[in-house]
Every structure is written in C-alpha cells, then in structure tokens.
Amino acid sequence: MPNEQESQGPVVEVLYLKTNEEARFHARWSETLQQVWDQAYNELGEAKHAGDTFECQDGAKLDPYLTLTLEQLRERKICVNRKFQIRGPAGGA
C-alpha cells in the first residue's frame, strides 16, 4: 500500500485553468478519477460545465482513465504526482 499519510488518504491537487484557483484535498485510494474530479468542483466552489475536461498538470489527457481508482493510476504510473487540472472548452482554429 502506498506510504503516504495513510490515515487521511493521498493528497490531490486540482488547478482550475479558467481562473487559476487551486484545490488541495485528501482523497481515498479507492476513489475513481471521476469521483476526484467531481469532488474538485465542490472544493473549488465551481459548477461543472459542458466541455470541461480533466487532465494531468503535465497536459496528459485523462478521459480514458476516469473509471480507474487512484490506486490503479499509481500502479500504472499515470499522473503519479496526482496534480490535476480542469480545462474549459475553447475554440479558434
């Protein structure tokens, strides 16, 4: 089991790219990425909008992994620092 503040669960950080607001909170290893994303809106006091996406802060898209738990993400070495970002829609090409 990961050795990180086991009693409270792993810390996740979420940056809201529309404003640069940040949320930092404890999650559980058994929570899915979708649950973490949903919780991030609560922590940020923001509502989810159509077109929002959840990414790793290195820019990696996380859509394929939303049903994985944090434990599974760690095992697969996906966004291992658990620093995420919410990106809103934009266009302009």
């Binding site: 790219l17 529309k18 404003t19 934009a90 266009g91 302009g92 090409a93």
Partner: protein
Amino acid sequence: MAKIGADPILNSPTAAREALEKDLVQGLRGRTHQRPHPLTLLVPIFGNPDSESPDLFLLRLQFSYYPDWPPGAQFVNPFTRQYDKTKDLIWLPRIEGNSRIQVHADYNNSMGQVICSSMTLEFYKVRHGGKESEVWTEKHTFAATINEIEMGLRPNDGYKGRMG
C-alpha cells in the same frame, strides 16, 4: 459579456484596472511579468517548455475591454516590445492541427497578428465564428488566456517551433 458575432465593448479605464488588480495575483500565479502600463502586462511564455532549450516568446496582454471581454493578446518582439509583421515572424509560434488555438501572422492578409482563441479579444474583434460553449464568460479571468496559449505551445498540442 462576450458573444460570438458581437462587437467588443470598451470598459472604462478605472473599471478595467480594478478588475485586473482583483485578478492579478491569482492570474499570474507567480509568473515573471512586467507592467509597462496600468492596463498592459508583458508575460514571458515558453514553447516546448520541457525541452533542453525552450523557445522564449513574449506575450503582451491588454486589458481595456476586461473583464467582460478577454484581454487582447499578441506575441511581441522582446527587444522592441512591438510586433512588426515584416520582421518579427521569429517571435511568433507556429501551431498546427490544434482546434483550440492558431496563430496568424497577418489575419486575412490585412488585420495583423491574431492569436485565434476564444480566450483572446482579437477572436471576437475579427468576428471569428465559434460555439457558444467556447465563449469567454464571467467565470473566466485572464489566467484562462495565458493557460490556453501556453498549452498550445507544447509539442503534443501542435507546437512546431518558431514561425520564422
């Protein structure tokens, strides 16, 4: 608020400045910057940021229409702090195949540089079409402008180096 197909409306200098002051610290998030005018920010930004030699660009943000409309955004020559379309292509990034952002050295061969993203004022000034879901809203701050441009400067998002 911003709307596709509508002319941007100039804010009063006082109100625009107050809005910028309110958003300044969080919007910059510790970034290096200069403020040559109360309504202008110069922000260094890097192409291919994770490489051994990232490409430096200088972004000029102008806040006369802020916050109901996004800031004007242009890449400028870091030495002159201006953009001359005949000489400064090297100071523009080339982005290909990214549906969220493109950089035009001279939009429609007459309108000058346009960073074509719904997070910039010029997108609305040139009457670019788009989806309502992608429009700048009261929820956005200029952080969205910087973030969106910066994310377009990664190789995986179509960044191909300098334009000139």
